[in-house]
Symmetry: C2
Subunit: 278 residues, 2 copies
């Protein structure tokens, strides 16, 4: 079966009406822009989330895209369709989540649209000024070393728990992605390729393999639970081997765990995996 979303995007690209859409966000006139949808039934179910947490996560997944390009998000446009059964208290919890994230990351809401529908969904466009260099998905080079931040696998585990009816820790990354922006900005001067892991490690590796004509020589076998866990929002990045020491110093200083995943080689590689959302 043809993937209809990919078909749509390729049609637009072939027509010439788009810019190149390779990265988490797009660089235009010194600003990096990203847009994400966060929809009930597709990205979340209301029975597993508080409204406060939905609001926060809808913002964080977008912020993650901008951080992954080495840029601080500064402005957001917010499109919200509220579910008709949401009470004033629900709306209140929701707005608190938006406001708390705006304050934490110093983001201004510059506009948007609100409607009432029969479910809750959020569309966010975010942008921020590119200061010096930006990080790209198209910059993973053979010879460099591939790393990721944090731990992978726990989000998938937590989701499975939740779907089987168990409670999970309120601090789960599934509820509130942890964004290591300080770490990213400190390694920015020597990062080569970079992106956030939103659809699972294997899925992202397929993307960068295709974009850069590279394959991967892993330092150790990757567990399936690590490779297929989506919504981790950890940072997948590469550096030249000469910067490894510097990288570990910065990671230690920021208490960010990093994993040396693979040596990048020329070639192509494809891992079997499904997209995280369908």
């Amino acid at each position: 079966m043809v993937d209809r979303e990919a078909y749509f995007i390729s049609k637009l690209q072939d027509s010439g009406v788009t810019l190149k859409l390779d990265n988490d966000g797009v660089l235009l006139n010194d600003y990096v822009y990203a847009m994400d949808l966060f929809c009930e039934g597709v990205h979340f179910l209301r029975k597993y989330f508080s409204y406060y947490t939905i609001a926060k996560k809808s913002m964080l997944v977008n912020i993650s895209d901008i951080f992954a390009m080495g840029v601080k998000p500064k402005y957001a446009m917010l499109g919200v369709s509220f579910a008709g059964d949401m009470t004033l208290k629900d709306i209140n919890d929701f707005q608190k989540g938006i406001i708390d994230i705006c304050r934490q990351y110093n983001i201004k809401i510059i506009g948007g649209d609100t409607i009432r529908d029969d479910r809750l969904s959020i569309a966010i466009t975010m942008f921020g000024k590119a200061e010096s260099k930006i990080i790209k998905r198209t910059n993973f080079r053979a010879g460099d070393i591939l790393f990721f931040s944090g731990s992978l696998g726990k989000v998938k585990k937590d989701m499975n728990f939740l779907y089987r009816g168990y409670k999970i820790n309120k601090n789960s990354k599934f509820y509130t992605p942890k964004l290591n922006s300080k770490f990213i900005f400190e390694i920015l001067p020597f990062v080569r390729g970079g992106m956030d892991i939103s659809d699972g490690l294997y899925y992202e590796l397929n993307r960068i393999s295709k974009l850069n004509n590279i394959r991967f020589k892993f330092y150790k076998k990757i567990d399936k639970n690590i490779a297929l866990s989506g919504e981790e929002y950890e940072f997948l990045f590469s550096i030249s081997s000469k910067n490894i020491r510097k990288l570990y110093l910065i990671a230690n200083k920021n208490r960010v765990k990093i994993t040396r995943l693979a040596k990048i080689l020329p070639g192509r590689q494809r891992f079997y995996c499904l997209p995280h959302h369908k």
Copy 2:
């Protein structure tokens, strides 16, 4: 009952995390940004629209916001959730609508997000560079004369026809809003206040009355069908009386019908009407 959308927006505004959200779009660093949602079940029903027309209208309502501020839209971010039952042909018709509008108005798609859901909805963020002056809703002044472009009322009529099971003309503004951008840009040097009529004339008059502390002395009685017809996307604007001759010359040249609606007076006025979408 409290309007929950208004409550949400006022909460955000009170918190200080927003810019002033008075206009169709927002001016930031020389660019004007606008975001609109266009959702199945709220803004359109698939049984009344072709996919081509849905795509076009989703873009046009957004373009209208930017034109109404006297600015040419140049870039768009496109968030689409496709309905699971859409065929490849449907997707094809849809992308053609997007591409045709991009070409007609010289707009580049710079990014976005696509998902699959059980219905079709579109979130668009659009922006363009403000060249000289921008048109604002907050610039309707007592003493000036209020006009609107085109004819009002037909969209409401067409919608009622459609909902009663009749066919309407394919060229109906309900399907494809007519945007008089050339006219707007020619009168830009002397326009005072301006906005597009998306929620019906009375609804917009309430907005500008509140924003500017003004009321209206109408030149003739306004028919209810004219006053309450939404989605017209005509241009509501004011000028100083000394520019009336110039205005009519430009309108004639562009073959744009204009109606001299009212003299603007200081005060407040409120018309009874419901928002167009709920």
